[in-house]
Symmetry: C2
Subunit: 343 residues, 2 copies
């Protein structure tokens, strides 16, 4: 029921995924208002056999505070979707609804892995070399050095699970490449990553413009900076596309030129369309929860569903648990050494 469009996007999104040959056999539970879902489902008869509607009229409001969603959320469509993961009935949950509420309900019902405090929200972003994972993009507003190191570990495991290739490269977002740059937390995380290693391919500080260059596979930052810088890029990308369109529709020559080159222009728009890389998982929960952009269209929602399926088919949950306990041991060791060297 979530996002700007509700079932009008969720159902056609699933229909797109169901057309993909390697994703046949996946089944879907749709939590929400049957009266709103049924008419959309009727227009997608191909998926009627794979879909089961779990009726509820209650929903989480888009502007509900997370604490309120936790206390009063039981029985809402969002709650029931996450609950179906907890009970083992579903392998993953996808929602385009209220991000803060989804995270809060996820934490409450699924609990965090190990000693993690809060999940990290990942964004997948198109770059000159493919796609990179940026985290956190909004779940953790204030992050100390240890949180940033956890993000590096979570991001590396996530990237391996989704892209199925070894040791991704990691960069820590900062205002400059030199070790003295930035604030205390980012410098502390840099030191820990350099000294303890954690088996990561850590490349040090990167700057904002390095993200689009694709210099690393995983970009680590706090949720405040990550959220704002990626939304800034989204806003600019939308502006750039609308300027391009305006310029090509203004005058006869541009119109003719755009008509002749339209295939290429459509391909480019597709390549740079953030909705194609829609879908950000919350990392660190005991279970898979993927957040879709609230404004995503059916194609974007399909991308989020595909991502959830990829993650459900990988063993990244078990890997996260193993890596994090290794990290806890390593950083406890480093802390007790610190104390000794001070004494």
């Amino acid at each position: 029921m979530g996002g700007d469009h509700g079932p009008a996007v969720v159902v056609p999104g699933i229909a797109r995924v169901a057309e993909l040959i390697d994703l046949v056999g996946v089944r879907y539970l749709l939590h929400g208002d049957r009266a709103q879902i049924a008419p959309v489902l009727e227009r997608c008869p191909a998926i009627s056999g794979m879909v089961e509607v779990r009726h509820t009229e209650a929903t989480v409001a888009p502007d509900a505070k997370p604490a309120h969603a936790m206390r009063r959320g039981a029985g809402t469509s969002m709650w029931n979707a996450v609950e179906s993961v907890r009970s083992g009935e579903a392998r993953a949950a996808v929602s385009a609804g209220n991000t803060g509420a989804l995270m809060a309900i996820g934490r409450l019902l699924l609990r965090m892995i190990g000693e993690l405090e809060r999940p990290a929200l990942v964004a997948n972003w198109p770059t000159a070399r493919g796609v990179c994972a940026v985290l956190d993009v909004g779940a953790n507003i204030v992050c100390d050095a240890e949180r940033l190191v956890e993000f590096a570990l979570l991001g590396a495991i996530y990237h391996r699970a989704v892209h199925r290739r070894g040791a991704p490269t990691i960069g820590l977002l900062n205002v400059g490449a030199e070790t003295q740059k930035g604030h205390e937390d980012v410098r502390g995380a840099d030191r820990m990553l350099r000294e303890l290693g954690f088996g990561l391919d850590y490349r040090g500080f990167i700057e904002g413009d390095d993200i689009a260059k694709g210099v690393v596979d995983v970009v680590v930052t706090d949720g405040f900076t990550g959220n704002i810088s990626l939304k800034s890029v989204e806003g600019f990308a939308r502006f750039f596309r609308s300027e391009l369109r305006a310029v090509l529709e203004n005058g006869l020559l541009p119109k003719i030129g755009a008509f002749i080159a339209r295939g290429a222009l459509v391909r480019m728009a597709a390549r740079l369309d953030p909705s194609l890389v829609n879908g950000g998982p919350f990392l660190g929960l005991n279970g898979i929860v993927v957040k879709s952009h609230g404004g995503a269209d059916a194609r974007g929602y399909a991308a989020a569903v595909r991502l959830a399926i990829e993650l459900a088919r990988s063993d990244f949950a078990a890997e996260i648990e193993a890596e994090l306990s290794r990290f806890a041991t390593l950083s406890r060791g480093a802390q007790s050494q610190d104390r000794r060297s001070i004494a």
Copy 2:
């Protein structure tokens, strides 16, 4: 001597500015190595009468630490340029060199206005509605609520001086629009701006994608977030342009289409070229110092020089001083009231 290209960009940059009818009569002091400057000047005979070279071979290294530049910088080209503003010989200084060093030398030689601690660095960014001013974009890594409020005041005065129109709108960059969103400092600044007003047209929190929409004239944020989000956008803009070029050069139809529409495409590239809005002043110094992008070309450098001239011709320095003392009185009043209400 600063930036990636030194005199090779500075001299032709000035030549571009000198062609503009309303900027005739401006004179330039070029601080740097005569042996490097003279050959470039020979190729721009039109400006030889407006330019005076002040020879020095010493420069500030691009990677020099600010503290080092302050202790050892005397006699470098950057130092001499700022010193010429301090002595009153020049009305403004422009440099494409080391940002941290320029700020440190600016603070040391020119000193801050009133009780300000550090200058704020402004970026001018193209938006769907024109250009907005974003500050701080890197001079102040950690900012408390009062610093953010100072940025709002400085940004408003700057915008009025450059665009010559009344009360600019102000937005505070955050991860959401609701008052409970974000960290303590940004919420504190929001409260102060709402309650004390300061005569500003404050519009509350804005999100990253609101920057490109142009919803406000002045975007306020801390230097860490500002630097990273704007560099992220620059990186993406470069990526977008290179993708567009690649797509239009790949295949016969796109090539023909691009050739026919080339006028429109060149106009768009120009409109979205960050170098056209190059030039960020340090606000809060007793004197005008404008930082050009290190990688700017002659056109970009010309934009920074024009901005410096605009500021020198406005009375924004005096206005900053008056507004800041008003702010100090207001916020001291508010603090003592706070103390009373606690007692």
